[in-house]
Point group: C2
Chain length 204, copies 2
Amino acid sequence: MVISLRTVLHGETLFRAGDRFEAMFQVWTGFFKAVVATSRGREQVTGFQMAGDLMGFEGIDSGLHGVDAIALEDSQVCVIPYANLEALGREVPPLQRHLHRTMSREILSDHDAMLRLGSMHSEQRVAAFLLSLSDRLRKRGFSASSLVLRMSREEIGSYLGLKLETVSRTFSKLQARGLLFVRQRQIQITDPAGLRHVLDGATV
Amino acid sequence: MVISLRTVLHGETLFRAGDRFEAMFQVWTGFFKAVVATSRGREQVTGFQMAGDLMGFEGIDSGLHGVDAIALEDSQVCVIPYANLEALGREVPPLQRHLHRTMSREILSDHDAMLRLGSMHSEQRVAAFLLSLSDRLRKRGFSASSLVLRMSREEIGSYLGLKLETVSRTFSKLQARGLLFVRQRQIQITDPAGLRHVLDGATV
DNA sequence: CGGGACATTGACTTACTTCAAAACTCGTGG
DNA sequence: CCACGAGTTTTGAAGTAAGTCAATGTCCCG
């Protein structure tokens, strides 16, 4: 059973859409984005991955990766060859189940993303994004209220279906309302309940 | 090994978000929509399922279903208890692999949906929707050019992140351009290449 | 044949985008 | 150590795609 560690530097690509799918990757340290692209140059960030998150299983079906995975800071990933996983999963049911759960969680989170993209206004999208990020950091033992964004306004915009200017303006608007404090990529969430209220659709 | 068949009439619910996850379902005959909803009444159609499609695996992680599955016409589904599947998958690797592939295909298709929702104009969304539907029907042996929509304009709109009026207007616009012929839920795709051209971003 | 749900179309409004300019951040080299 | 410049973020003003509101048309199903 070979499980190896691999380093990916800031800006480097772990795998590209179209690459042969041979392994999945678990983020050990660092931060990634996943991007889908069309032949005509259209792009969409479909997710951000941090420590513990699994990447690459969207390639199981076709045998080819479906997204580009790009490091947003120097990172280390654990390489999990799919063949090994399949064989091992048969002998160790909990592992099998873990993979199923992880994939099902990814599907749920994609559905959340669709809900954001399909039916929310810019303020609600940004609030949802920040609350979700804050929550994920908290679960990993980091502060839920004080965060440093690893991605640019443009990357946030792509993920949320907004232009970078709109993301920036929305941050400013939420700050003006006293819900948070922004300074470039430093974010302080000063009123999480208020943010949740925005997310729930208050026009306030 | 118990695998049973279940009938779901038009408008009925197969399972609801929050229901205990005990089984997955494969559509035998008929047509379904999957809907996510928030406490505050916001709704989003996340997919449409037809013969052969699997539904419900988004519930594996939490043990609760994550969407409502609602029949858009009288339908029959094959009930696949998850416990059985897990056990059987261990003995029959191809079955295991089939589940993995199906989930990974769902993730890919969700990424496509995010791309549509996040970065396409109404015409491109509608074109993408029709082409994808046409393709799925063709793969099942139906005509790729002549289709009867099972869902309302509102449901299409929810899926595409548009209002029903916009969907209707967009159909009319594409018809005026000679790419298709609409009459209520009857659609004739007269120029699939042209539609694909619209999808690729032609402003024509 | 009539009523209710669904679809189309038009006129007007709005949230977000686009285009443009200024300010901040940070690494590099003079 | 400070100045420069590239990349990013913020902010403003004007434009536009899609939303909203409202009226009319069409199709079933009882």
